[in-house]
């Protein structure tokens, strides 16, 4: 989702969300001791960000997420190009893929813990596994939508199979692939934090939340972590959108949306 040019408007939406939350937890609509209001959570978050240990945890989570995303892109884009353009390979591999895809990383945490230990390997591996699919699928589907005439044009001018993939298929698929990357970022972040949350052992935002929720209703910290995760994702998304606008100026809608 992009194209939010006016900052005030986008703020209105966010502020509205926080306002509803505030009111809900201030009135007795929801248990306020549990769902702490943002007026408590946001300052807690700011305070936490002053704590070097917390910052280290956030950085650890972020680094793992980014690494996982990069690995996922490096695997999924070429794989998507091949699967999208060579039907026999697609037929042969997709059955296995469709069996693997719905297996939740969370269910694999214990096995991953046994295999990779408590280090960052576990969460990165699981995050790559979760983040692969949107990129892979969007690449494949984008290939289906490549204008056949573009393919014919390139072939007529003697472009080989690889050139076709790299110089025609990839550029025309790129915007949709990037949407896949945006989806995958959120998934990678979710898997990294969930792994920290459900397995522990490595430092990270999930670990902080887990420790905080273990010892009593430290919902301030839990929710601060939640909001921070949201903000990280929001920032990453904004960055990817900027990239999108810069890289794909040609794909901007030429006719204004009503």
């Amino acid at each position: 989702m992009s194209g939010a040019p006016r900052v005030p408007a986008s703020l209105v939406g966010l502020v509205g969300f926080f306002a509803i939350w505030e009111v809900a937890s201030r009135t007795d609509l929801v248990p306020g001791y549990y769902l702490r209001p943002p007026s408590v959570v946001l300052p807690t978050m700011v305070t936490l960000l002053g704590d070097p240990e917390f910052v280290r945890a956030v950085v650890a989570t972020l680094a793992a997420t980014l690494l996982a995303l990069v690995i996922a892109v490096l695997i999924a884009v070429p794989a998507g190009l091949v699967l999208g353009s060579v039907p026999p390979v697609r037929r042969a591999v997709m059955t296995l893929v469709e069996f693997l895809r719905p297996i939740p990383s969370v269910a694999l945490i214990p096995l991953a813990l046994l295999t990779f230990g408590t280090g960052p390997d576990t969460k990165i591996t699981l995050a790559v596994y979760g983040a692969l699919w949107p990129i892979l699928f969007n690449t494949m589907y984008a290939l289906d939508e490549v204008d056949p005439l573009h393919v014919e044009t390139a072939r007529a001018f003697g472009t080989g199979r690889l050139g076709l993939l790299g110089r025609v298929a990839l550029p025309s698929a790129a915007p949709f692939v990037l949407t896949g990357v945006r989806l995958s970022f959120a998934i990678a972040l979710a898997v990294v934090i969930s792994t920290e949350l459900f397995s522990g052992g490595t430092i990270g935002l999930g670990q902080v939340v887990n420790v905080a929720s273990g010892g009593g209703l430290n919902m301030d910290t839990v929710l601060a972590g939640t909001v921070l995760a949201g903000l990280i994702g929001y920032g990453a998304n904004a960055g990817l959108e900027l990239l999108h606008r810069k890289a794909f100026a040609w794909s901007q809608p030429k006719v204004g949306a009503e």
Binding site: P102, W133, P134, Y141, E152, L164, L223, P253
Partner: protein
């Protein structure tokens, strides 16, 4: 190419993978390798699975789990497509709502638990969790598709002063449809995944509930049986969705033999 070779093509990699899996796990078991306890051979898993799936667990856990998941996915699809078209074609809606959605979508589902617990309570949060998590691929892909409507088609629609319904369902939706389907397929597996995650909390039944119990009780064969069930279900629903997709996208040139040959360079 005839049907038989096609089917063979479809399953050969899968069969080889399962064969390798069996081989490796059997070897590990024979060698009494460490941790082989947690990685039973698929033949054993199959036996356990047969007993597990077709026992009373079917009605107690599998059916409730699946109905939650399918219901959640369907609702996520409807909301995702509707919102996606709105956000994709309206700058204003995007300006106001884009930020909120990007914020919410980045919160990992396990961290959203407090919100759902506060809103619907821990024993009722499975369904909303699934809906909330499965929306995003459909939403984002629909936005992309809705935005990508060819400029000449937009102008054509405007010139003929199409009604809002015609514009939405006759122009925007069909041109976004291939991307919507990509989103729906992603959402489907995410719905399955979230079904498992959401059943970890407050639920008395479900596949996720059983999976985690098997995990905790050190019953790796049962745990794998549930994992395999997720794979089977994912494959099944995906196949059904593909049939639907092929019908809905029958108009696409890519489904003609000519362009298929073209895409492969043949």
């Amino acid at each position: 190419m005839n049907r038989v070779t096609r089917t063979a093509q479809r399953w050969v990699v899968f069969a080889v993978a399962v064969g390798l899996w069996e081989l490796v796990t059997q070897l590990a078991k024979a060698a009494e390798a460490e941790k082989s306890f947690f990685f039973p051979p698929p033949s054993e898993i199959a036996l356990t699975a047969k007993d597990l799936w077709f026992s009373s667990a079917f009605g107690d856990h599998i059916v409730p789990g699946i109905s939650r998941m399918l219901g959640g996915w369907a609702l996520a699809g409807v909301i995702g497509i509707a919102l996606g078209i709105l956000l994709g074609r309206s700058r204003r809606a995007m300006a106001y709502l884009g930020a909120v959605f990007n914020f919410l979508r980045s919160i990992p589902p396990p961290l959203l638990v407090p919100f759902f617990v506060a809103a619907v309570g821990p024993t009722n949060m499975q369904f909303p969790t699934i809906v909330f998590g499965a929306i995003w691929p459909v939403l984002l892909n629909t936005v992309d598709g809705a935005r990508g409507v060819d400029a000449t088609k937009v102008e054509t629609a405007r010139v003929f002063r199409l009604s809002r319904a015609q514009w939405t369902f006759g122009v925007v939706l069909p041109s976004a449809l291939p991307k919507v389907f990509a989103g729906l397929r992603l959402s489907l597996s995410i719905a399955l995944i979230l079904m498992v995650i959401s059943e970890l909390i407050g639920s008395a039944n479900g596949i996720g509930n059983q999976l985690v119990r098997a995990q905790r009780d050190y019953e790796p064969t049962a745990m794998w049986a549930w994992i395999v069930l997720l794979g089977v279900l994912g494959y099944l629903f995906n196949t059904l969705l593909l049939v639907l997709e092929r019908r809905a996208l029958a108009w696409q040139p890519r489904h003609s033999l000519e362009t298929q040959a073209l895409a492969t360079g043949g």
